[in-house]
Amino acid sequence: MSMGSDMYRQQILDHYRNPRNHGELGDPTFSHEGYNPSCGDELEFDVVLEDDGETIERVAFRGEGCAISQASASMLSQELPGMTLDEVADLDRDDVLELLGVEVTPMRIKCAVLAEKVVQDGARIYEGEADVDQTTTED
């Protein structure tokens, strides 16, 4: 099998079927949601910060969508605890693609980066730097 199907390595399918940190956090410091109109993917992240107000302690997410969007959310959710909001802001698409560990075809990049964009926007809103209702991959 070639190209696109390579995206569905065991690791991705495993995260898709058994998403880590799936669900809700009782009293999140902030929550934010977003969607990817091209696939109809939806993700909502809850984030709890440590007392310093800038380091991520815990995250949880829920959502619906294709394997790429959901697996990237699951994988990202494992990376976030311990990161500062500044570090989150510095993440770019290459970081996400590296996390996924597969070649993502151009049409599916938006699925892959949705989780990252949702968390980044959520953090910026929390810090008063942005005012978006819902994140979309179209911006």
Partner: protein, 413 residues
């Protein structure tokens, strides 16, 4: 004659007119093009007409006096006659060339809706409308104070005609329905809807984007007031759409776009409008596209619309049977009662993941909401996978689709 009694198509001969079908995709796989509801391929006969226009008589059609302009003008005007004839309209006066179905919808929304509608008026759509009409009439309603209502779709993907009879009242000013649903494949009872609309003096607008390419259309027989379709879905080029309108309506309506070409007499104070259909074609029109669409229509008529419909019905029924399985949810009516569209979901595999895997098998399908988001919301699904067939598709290509689905199952299950 019933469509199913038609002599079969010589698909092999037809395919020779479409060299694109020979190309390879996805690392050497033969292309299996099953995304015809989004856009169809273009035969050499149509490509040649476009090339011939640009190579030999490219000129504007502003009724120029030089020879090229006359040639282009005659070809462009004749194209209106040809396309009008194709859908049973009464001459070029009833056939406006636009950019696509969406623009045809917007033309009526702007030229008629914004001027005629107000508070207390209602526009009745169906729940299976494409965004082209749904979003457009929503906006008209917002600006005019009119209200949009929707004829529900039942569990089998048919319109609830009892509900339609109640929803369409004397407050209804316009009923807008797809002829063939691009998501469900449902073929709507357009003549019955026309009767309901006309019983209440409402206009009836048919979105024929999926019907005009795939079955004989007779706008007079169905008594449509407006009928919209797109050239690129029926072997023509992109950038051309059509709006059929009853002559008296097009005469009464105000133009939607103003400027050159659509005028008769202009002074510093005021202007009068050109004759039909030019009144609605402001600016330099879609000349090459219009001429090429006439060639596409010639091609379709040479093959025979009844035979095309019969071929598609066979393929669609076959695809329905082959795809039907416990883990597959096929949207819309049963396989022997639908247009050439089969949308489905496989348990546990998102439509976009399935689409990616099918692409590796060379199979091009559409995945997403097919511009019917509200319908997908109603069905409780974020997206679906859609295979759609045309005159050049074969049973073997349906088999390739089914094999691709099986490969996806192996990866995901």
């Amino acid at each position: 004659m019933k469509a199913s009694e038609q002599a079969p198509l010589d698909v092999e001969a037809i395919r020779e007119d479409f060299p694109i079908l020979e190309r390879e995709v996805a690392d050497g796989k033969g292309l299996v093009y099953l995304d015809n509801a989004a856009t169809a391929q273009t035969p050499d006969q149509v490509v040649d007409v476009i090339a011939d226009y640009y190579r030999t008589y490219n000129a504007n059609v502003h009724r120029g006096i030089h020879q090229l302009s006359q040639e282009a003008s005659v070809a462009y005007e004749d194209a209106h006659d040809r396309v009008a004839e194709f859908v049973g309209a009464d001459g070029r006066e009833e056939m406006v060339f636009t950019k696509n179905t969406t623009e045809s919808e917007n033309l009526v929304a702007g030229a008629w809706g914004l001027n005629e509608l107000g508070p207390g008026d209602e526009v009745v759509l169906t729940e299976m409308e494409h965004h082209a009409s749904l979003v457009t009439w929503q906006q008209v309603a917002k600006r005019t104070g009119a209200e949009v209502k929707y004829i529900p779709v039942d569990e089998d993907g048919y319109l609830d005609m009892d509900a339609a009879a109640e929803l369409i009242t004397d407050d209804t000013q316009l009923v807008n329905a797809v002829h063939v649903s691009n998501t469900l494949g449902t073929v709507n009872p357009v003549a019955d809807l026309a009767d309901l609309a006309h019983d209440h003096d409402a206009l009836f607008f048919v979105d024929g984007a999926q019907a005009a390419p795939t079955r004989p259309v007779d706008v007079e027989a169905m008594d449509a007031d407006f009928y919209a379709f797109s050239g690129h879905k029926m072997l023509g080029p992109t950038g051309i759409g059509c709006l059929y309108g009853k002559r008296h309506l097009l005469e009464e309506m105000e133009p939607h776009l103003y400027g050159g070409m659509m005028i008769n007499r202009v002074t510093f104070e005021e202007s009068t409008w050109a004759d039909l259909p030019w009144k609605y074609e402001a600016g330099t029109p879609v000349i090459a596209q219009g001429i090429a669409l006439a060639a596409a229509v010639d091609y379709l008529d040479d093959v025979g619309m009844e035979r095309i419909q019969a071929h598609e019905e066979h393929l669609t029924e076959y695809a329905y049977e082959q795809l039907d399985a416990d883990d597959v949810d096929i949207l819309g009516p049963p396989g022997d009662d639908r247009g050439a569209v089969v949308s489905f979901n496989v348990d546990g595999i998102h439509a976009h993941d399935l689409s990616t895997i099918l692409n590796d098998h060379g199979v091009a399908i559409r995945a997403g909401d097919h511009c019917t988001q509200p319908l997908h919301q109603k069905l409780g699904i974020p997206a679906s996978t859609r295979a759609s067939f045309y005159l050049y598709n074969t049973k073997e290509e349906v088999d390739a689709l089914v094999e691709g689905v099986e490969a996806a199952r192996e990866i995901f299950h």
